[in-house]
């Protein structure tokens, strides 16, 4: 194990002089550095830093205030989720997948479930209402994720006000999530075959009120930042990455759309019935942080449009099933609000304990063993708030995945930090990273 002494004195190494800055007299340190002939110093913006959007380590080579080299170091949140999923059944894997990119849990789950459904061959058998609910949840999640991106991005650049507005909107959306799924974050709601349970009664009325409230409240952030001179000075021309750079580095999402290319998987390779919704793909042509910020603000409005259409469709499909009809795959439990919180509905218990032996066996086998997925591999992609999020699943015909790999947009997008920041100033790195909007849980998995 490499020894690291945080209180070591200044020492010479093969790489040059190393100064350990962990307290002590700042003046003595500065005068030491001033005496050195080298103009370049290497600074570690370590994993714990208020502005690096999570546990991201940036090793900067600075010449004065100009950055000559940025090397991002990741892996500080590596959880081994992919390996862990090989020891859980297909449905249990949803709870793991959802915690990867923790700002957009529904997208993780949907990508995973779409890939499983592709392997099972039931993509066309998913009930329409389940697809509509998935679209609704995904767009709500897009709003809550963009709110965090805007709020924390603004906070890192020094603006504290947008953070409060953004989290106020986010709380409204999280309350809706809690009403529908039971949890605010990491809901494990989208399951292979459909969704876990239907929307509660009267939810569509609540959703319409939510849309009205959000539409009104989004203007607060807009008025604060759009056209704000200081904000524009901090974000225009910063973090430039054009189309050639994006395609080389495999970058998708708002960063790609800020180059002017209207590439959105919801339009180009629709899934979950997205072809039936009317919405625009927002692009900007400035390739900078300000362009990406404007894209995210505009995508909020487009998400609201999709949600309104989804609410209408939900009213039209009221009462329809939300799980695939195949009893050998569909999660058998029907949850309802019971006396002790949440549990199986009494009708379901009456059926499995009283009348139908087959239902009881199905329930037991599906919960303990799970269903079997035929051997093969599948790749399913969704358009998450950060870009193309895809699940690549290999099955060996068993009840557990053989290998699950998630193609996370943040992993690719973060590689562009060097391209965006080198040659600029230290403060611009923060803006560039904030505009990429990486979620370190997704980067490290």
């Amino acid at each position: 194990m490499t020894t690291f002494d945080p209180y070591a004195a200044t020492r010479e190494t093969t790489e040059g002089t190393v100064y350990s800055v962990t307290g002590g007299d700042w003046d003595s340190l500065v005068s030491e550095i001033g005496e050195a002939k080298e103009e370049r110093i290497i600074v570690n913006m370590g994993p714990q830093h208020p502005s690096t959007h999570g546990v991201l380590r940036l090793v900067l080579e600075l010449e004065g205030e100009t950055v000559t080299e940025v090397r991002p170091g990741i892996g500080y949140l590596h959880t081994g989720i992919e390996k862990n999923m090989e020891y859980r059944s297909w449905t249990q894997g949803t709870t793991f997948a959802t915690r990867m990119d923790y700002l957009s849990p529904i997208f993780n789950e949907t990508a995973y479930c779409l890939a499983i459904e592709k392997l099972l061959g039931i993509t066309n058998d998913i009930p329409e209402r389940a697809s509509i609910i998935r679209v609704l949840m995904m767009e709500l999640n897009r709003i809550s994720s963009h709110m965090v991106a805007l709020g924390t991005g603004a906070l890192e650049l020094g603006a504290m006000g947008p953070m409060f507005f953004a989290f106020r909107e986010r709380e409204a959306v999280l309350d809706t999530f809690e009403a529908i799924t039971g949890l605010r974050m990491n809901m494990a709601y989208v399951r292979p075959g459909g969704v876990q349970q239907d929307l509660p009664e009267g939810m569509t009325i609540r959703l319409r009120e939510l849309v009205k409230e959000l539409r009104k409240n989004f203007k607060d952030n807009e008025r604060l930042l759009v056209g704000n001179t200081i904000w524009m000075k901090r974000t225009e021309g910063i973090g430039y990455l054009d189309l050639a750079g994006c395609t080389t580095l495999g970058i998708t999402g708002p960063v790609l759309r800020s180059t002017g290319l209207p590439w959105d998987l919801r339009k180009m390779q629709p899934y979950c019935g997205y072809e039936n919704y009317e919405f625009d793909v927002i692009t900007a042509d400035t390739c900078d942080v300000y362009g990406r910020f404007l894209i995210r603000m505009a995508e909020l409005e487009q998400s609201l449009r999709i949600i309104e259409q989804a609410i209408d469709k939900l009213d039209a499909t009221h009462g329809q099933p939300v799980m695939v009809a195949d009893k050998k795959i569909a999660w058998p439990a029907q949850l309802a609000l019971g006396a002790d919180g949440l549990g199986n509905s009494l009708d379901h218990i009456r059926e499995i304990m009283g009348s139908s032996m087959e239902s009881l066996i199905h329930h037991f086998k599906l919960v303990t063993e799970g269903f079997r997925v035929p051997a093969g591999q599948a790749y399913a992609a969704v358009e998450s708030p950060r870009g193309e999020l895809a699940a690549h699943i290999v099955s060996d015909g068993g009840t557990k995945p053989y290998r699950v790999h998630f193609r996370e947009p943040s992993f690719n997008n973060l590689q562009s930090t060097s391209a965006m920041s080198e040659g600029g100033m230290v403060a611009d790195i923060i803006g560039a990273v904030a505009s990429i909007d990486p979620v370190m849980g997704g980067v490290d998995r």
Partner: protein, 190 residues
């Protein structure tokens, strides 16, 4: 409060411990140690108008551990992050407290594997364990309130040394968790 009634108004009697505890608990500055999903709920507690942590005066999250009192370890601690966690804890000045927020920080949570430290108490001493995945902001607030009660009851001076001795004796006599249950085990008839 017989004596206070007889004294001229404006005089309050208290103990040094009480006053010190009161001061300390009202001015806790958390260190930003948000790692994963729990960090978002911690941010919601800190920045959303609905759950407002500035009611305690704690909205000023200190990025520099030198100025922080409380480290809320929010999220899963991976093997690579553990030395960093310890270094940040070491850099905090006493008095300092640790809340391990969430199941992953308290015990490794659902990630029982090679990559996650199974509980940050392997790395730093923890004062309050907060379960949840992620815990709601209200739950984190409850943990903070319980920590405030702990802080305000901290003994000082000779009393503190007595408390430390008593805790040490109790720890030496304590049985491991697995022997605490009712299942047949060695020494159950002791």
């Amino acid at each position: 409060m017989g004596l206070e009634e007889k004294l001229p108004s404006g005089i309050l009697l208290s103990t040094v411990e009480g006053l010190a505890g009161y001061m300390r608990k009202s001015s806790v500055w958390p260190a930003t140690f948000g790692l994963a999903c729990c960090a978002i709920e911690m941010m919601a507690l800190g920045s959303s108008p609905k759950h407002d942590i500035s009611r305690f005066g704690m909205e000023r999250f200190s990025a520099s551990p030198r100025q922080a009192d409380l480290m809320i370890v929010a999220g899963r601690v991976s093997q690579k992050m553990a030395p960093v966690l310890r270094q940040i804890y070491d850099q905090m000045t006493a008095p300092k407290w640790v809340i391990s927020m969430g199941a992953c920080a308290s015990s490794g949570g659902m990630f029982n594997n090679y990559a996650i430290v199974q509980g940050v108490d392997h790395v730093v001493p923890v004062d309050i364990y907060l379960p949840g995945c992620p815990p709601r902001p209200e739950q984190l607030m409850d943990a903070i309130i319980k920590l405030h009660e702990q802080i305000s009851d901290t003994k000082l001076g000779a009393n503190r040394e007595a408390v430390i001795k008593a805790v040490e004796q109790a720890a030496l006599k304590a049985k491991p968790t697995i022997q605490l249950g009712n299942l047949p085990h060695e020494g159950m008839f002791a």
